[in-house]
Amino acid sequence: MTKIVVLVKEVPDAAVQKQVDSSTGRLDRSGEKTLNPFDTHAIEAALQLKESGALDVDEVVAVTVGPSSAVKALHKAVSLGADRSIHLTDDALVGSDVVGTGYALAELIKRESPDLVLAGQQSDDGQSYAVGAAVAEYLGWPGLTQVIKLDVDGQTLTCERQAEYGYDTVKVTLPAVISVGDAINEPRYPSLKAIMGAKKKPLESLSLGDAEIDASKVGEAGRKAVWTGSQEPPAKAAGELIEDEDTAETVEKIVAWLDDRKLI
């Protein structure tokens, strides 16, 4: 029997304009929130492993660290097919950086001792792409990122990783932490029954004390990343417009422009 933990996060809805609060250096997360869309690919991957029988999965558990509102993201995760969910919430977690979040998640995962941990490739707000790797490090398990294909053979997973230069094929033995790329699948939509039943599935809410997590390693107390300032991205220089009056002349101008920049 296999247990899969899927890491999920509540993020501001993609339709909300996002801003950094300069007084705290943290993202302003007010407004409409939703389940991180990248996580739905991890949930889908877990469900496909379960439904195809590739792994003998008896449970998919959605796990999140976040404020009280994050239960909505967990409801969404179970409406998509997770069997139950765990919510770590504590005022002392506010301001956690990637390493702190990775530590807290790893501690939650140890309580569950799953065979596989799946995560989305990034969060839609913090966008570090690194939480999965931090979790793997704390667990001492192999960690893979940007996996877009998973083949199972017993306890061995053959994973295709999307890299800048092409694809890596990597074999790992379970247990492992895998962040999936959004090209891995097309997430499903929840059914009416799943939507209506989402609040009835077990949801365990834990404080740091409940989960025996060291408060000095998370939140403001434990953070190693320090925000120093922000600035607007530099404005792009205006492009050059070439009006096409005489085509032969226009072509010459374009060729000269490219030639100047040693592009041809």
Binding site: A14, K72, Y189, S191, L192, K193, I195, M196, A198
Partner: protein, 396 residues
Amino acid sequence: MATRQRRLSESPIVPVTDERRELRDAVAQLVGRYGRTYFQDVVKRGEQPDALWADLGAAGFLGAHVSEPYGGGGGFADTAVVIEECAAQGCPIQYLVISPTICSTILDHHASDAIKEEWLHGMADGSKRMCFGITEPDAGTNTHDLSTTATPHPDGGWRINGGKYWTTGATVADALIVVARDADIGPSGKPTLSLFIVEKDAPGLTIQPLDSALTTAEKSFTVFYDDVPVKPGNLIGEQGKGLQQLFAGLNPERIAAASLANGMALFALEKASQYAKDRTVWTQPIGAHQGVAHPLAKAYIDVQLARLMTMRAAELFDAGSPAAGEAANMAKLAAADACLQALDQAMQTHGGNGLSLEVGIADLYFLARMLKVAPVSREMVLNHIAQHSLGLPKSY
């Protein structure tokens, strides 16, 4: 960070629960994979949106409001969200107003357990469809004058004789619910109506297409009943109680029709506002001109008002409130008017492009226009409101 534009249908002004928001998102995701072009293509080929229908059924969205054992468990407000969001995604499925709305609701409220067991599961999962025959050439709005008659047969059951027109979707339904006059005058001394299920291949049934300007997947038909046999088990509810039982389906029908109109209006306004932002003539996007912006803003306000009344009517219906009828009537009238206004202004905003099928607004027009007269005409709504809300003398 990923950004997306908020859909007009997501407005927090229209009452939402967590579940209804999730439902709307799920419907948008499901129907969005098909989109306007798919729907137009189906209509053009004279087919039904079967693939989309099957997906909606598999997800449980065709029976949200029916009782839980038959695949539902929500309320009609949930079905209203499904219908509206389908239309807002460019797929106004008229059949949603018929099979799940009128037929499933009447069966769920009044039919025998055997009928429910036979039909409701399939109607909720999309594998079965029913259509509804009420309108007759000589009895439109005045249901009391229906002449299609059900006569008890000596061997049991009934024989139906008569004719209906504007029976929508008759050829693709597995059965029809027929409203018929009882041959025998009941104990009240007045003519009574009963509701029957007629199977699509029943002998004596003749279905003829009724050509119309509607660009919908569902065609309408004239249906002749020539001694059509109905088995004893296919009477819905009680004999002679047809009129009262109809109301279980007619208020949802109005709410559903309003939702269909509201969804189309949102689709058109979404298209038009995008176009008004993108289309630049001389130096500014045309949406910067108040002549373009204000009519769109006004159309949006009217659509939002109609949506509020529609959702309110659905909530009242779900709560079993007697005020549901008044609200459903007002919602239907407001939604049809707002939709026509929105479509007209959306076309105007697009200039000549407003008539192109690629934009996909002009071909919604006749369905929207139909909703001004069906399922109940604007005039009958006004009669009802004048009489029942304002206490004015009865006009008919």
